[in-house]
């Protein structure tokens, strides 16, 4: 079975929509078990391990994050935040057999109470075809102003 460019592009759009609609359980199912969600702290950062990142989370941490969002004593989510992605058509950078790389420019809005913040970012997805299904092997999100002083970013850009 082969994957078309359009299928890769649709996958990226579907993922963004799941996050915006809060369908996190479905979103977690997109991930391969040893994947990492990386959000660098430094511009063009190369090392996720020995310097600080904004996020570098394995599936356990991502599950924890999602579980927490649904918790009854998650005070920073009373009331809950909402988010919204606007994405450009993803670039398909690599198609090698069962593995693929896409780059997507996006604007991310997160809002809670009277505050709203806008982040411009680039998402790089490593995708893999496993048992006929596309999955996320790794995801890297570079915020354009990654070194600015942020307030809370509570959901998943």
């Amino acid at each position: 079975m082969s994957v078309t460019r359009d299928q890769l592009i649709d996958f990226i759009y579907d993922e963004a929509r799941m996050l915006d609609e809060g369908r996190y359980t479905e979103w977690l199912d997109l991930w391969l078990p040893d994947g990492h969600y990386w959000m660098p702290l430094d511009y063009q950062q190369t090392d996720p391990l020995h310097v600080t990142s904004l996020m570098y989370e394995d599936l356990f941490m991502l599950k924890l994050r999602v579980e927490r969002l649904n918790g009854t004593r998650t005070f920073s989510q009373k009331p809950k935040s909402r988010c919204h992605h606007v994405i450009q058509r993803p670039f398909v950078d690599e198609m090698n057999g069962d593995s693929f790389v896409t780059t997507t420019f996006m604007h991310y809005v997160e809002t809670r109470l009277d505050e709203q913040q806008l982040l411009a970012m680039t998402a790089k997805h490593d995708l893999a075809l496993v048992d006929g299904t596309l999955r996320i092997a790794n995801k890297r999100v570079d915020i354009v102003n990654c070194d600015a002083a942020f307030r809370n970013i509570q959901l998943l850009p």
């Binding site: 959000m39 020995h50 600080t52 996020m55 570098y56 002083a149 942020f150 307030r151 809370n152």
Partner: protein, 446 residues
């Protein structure tokens, strides 16, 4: 004009032994007085020497609301200068760090200065002939802060020209910094990467107080640490299976009250103190292969064990930093306004130790202190709710009475139950002391 403007004695009266008036957290005049008195008279952390390793390297930061530059001079020593041209006031550097070469040059009129601040040259200098420029402060160049000390790589400065000495200010509290540095087999730390920068809409003192608040983790962090424990138990892994890193780092926040009571809190004069006298949430981290051996090589077995057995959790250095020895981390709470604070969380690499230690430190930092961290979200929510809640007119005082038994003597070191609020009272004792340092004794007593 507010009721405390220019009146540090009036502001100091807002602190009583067991309670603090809300204006200490919300009044802009009190904030201005803190900048002018507390931050000028105390020794304040500036940066680490590894942020300016080469001659001409500089690092721009602030002490309270004062813009300053930490710079490595041509002789190799580190100077701290006000980031202001003595001519028209232009900030000399605007990027956070860089190398200026042999001199600073003001981008406005090209006045230039040696890296110790001395005036080097002025274009068209003849225009100043017979004007008496040499009699002015401007002719001396960029102004240096009152005093600077490099203590084992950590740069501290006192803005005031005269005042308490470095040794008298810190006293035995330096043992925490010593322990953090001694954990390097080389006895040396280096900054690892840029700091996390996290904007808080609350007063800086709320953050500092929270560093030794041991009654909040199991409550405020139930959503993160409690959920981590629950999720882990659901995995139903065998006893000897390696724990997910989240469990090693986040789960101890859910330790019961008894754990924190027995942890102990030590206070030192001038507002310094630490949690984790007996044990801490860092005590049970897994061993990193090769690290203990490297320590024994440097220090001998007995001393190496003594260094690593110290479990100091959070050490607060008054007024505005906290260090975590066991994971080489420093957090600085930079006051921007009465209701606005920038938190920067730095991590350090232990020179000559395995890099896995740096990896754990980086992991801790992003899991706990990032604007994207679920644990950080728990805390920020509480601070900002407090900042807003203190506007309520029905009550005016903040209670800091826990485990207080009458008048306390903060001029002596003390070790108490780990859930005491003594360290918060200790900080306020120092706050009053440095706030009123320049007030004539008679006036202060009134």
């Amino acid at each position: 004009m507010g009721k405390y403007a220019g009146d540090p004695a009036a502001a100091a009266a807002l602190v009583e032994g067991h309670q603090v008036h809300r204006d200490v957290y919300i009044d802009p005049d009190v904030f201005r007085l803190e900048m002018k008195h507390v931050f000028a008279n105390a020794w304040v952390f500036v940066g680490h020497e590894s942020q300016t390793p080469q001659k001409g390297d500089y690092f721009a930061t602030s002490i309270g609301d004062q813009p300053v530059i930490q710079v490595r001079h041509s002789t190799g020593d580190i100077h701290v200068l006000y980031n202001r041209c003595p001519h028209k006031g232009t900030k000399i550097v605007i990027d956070r760090q860089g190398n200026t070469g042999k001199f600073f040059r003001c981008p406005y009129h090209a006045w230039s200065f040696k890296t110790d601040g001395c005036l080097l040259a002025i274009p068209l200098k003849k225009g100043y002939a017979d004007t008496g420029l040499d009699q002015t402060e401007g002719a001396k160049g960029m102004k240096a802060v009152g005093d600077v000390r490099n203590y084992r790589g950590f740069i501290f400065a006192r803005l005031a020209e005269e005042g308490i000495s470095f040794e008298d200010f810190f006293g035995d509290s330096l043992s925490s910094l010593d322990n953090m540095v001694d954990r390097s087999p080389a006895g040396r730390l280096e900054v690892a990467g840029p700091p996390l920068r996290y904007m808080h809409h609350c007063n800086w003192k709320m953050l500092v107080e929270n560093q030794t608040d041991t009654c909040h983790p199991m409550v405020a962090h139930e959503s993160s640490a409690g959920t981590a424990v629950k999720l882990y138990e659901e995995l139903d892994l065998p006893e000897d299976a390696p724990k997910p890193p989240a469990m090693e780092i986040i789960a101890p926040f859910m330790s019961p009250y008894e754990f924190f009571e027995n942890m102990g809190i030590r206070t030192w004069p001038n507002g310094h103190g630490h949690t984790g006298v007996n044990h801490s949430i860092h005590s049970n981290y897994s061993q990193i292969p090769g690290y203990f051996e490297a320590m024994v090589e440097s220090y001998g077995a007995e001393r190496a064990k003594a260094i690593l057995d110290e479990n100091r959790h959070n050490t607060v250095y008054f007024p505005n930093i906290m260090i975590k020895g066991p994971i080489q981390q420093l957090r600085i709470f930079i006051p921007l306004a009465a209701n606005r604070t920038l938190v920067e969380s730095y991590i350090y690499r232990l020179v000559d130790a395995p890099e896995e230690l740096t990896a754990r430190t980086a992991m801790y930092n992003r899991m706990i202190n990032a604007p994207t961290s679920i644990v950080g979200h728990d805390d920020l929510e509480m601070y900002e709710r407090a900042q807003e809640g203190l506007e309520a007119d029905g009550l005016e005082w903040v209670n800091i009475q826990r485990l207080r038994t009458g008048e306390e003597d903060f001029s002596e070191e003390a070790v108490e139950n780990g859930t005491t609020e003594r360290q918060m009272r200790n900080q306020f004792d120092a706050w009053v002391k440095f706030m009123t340092r320049n007030v004539p004794a008679r006036e202060a007593a009134e």
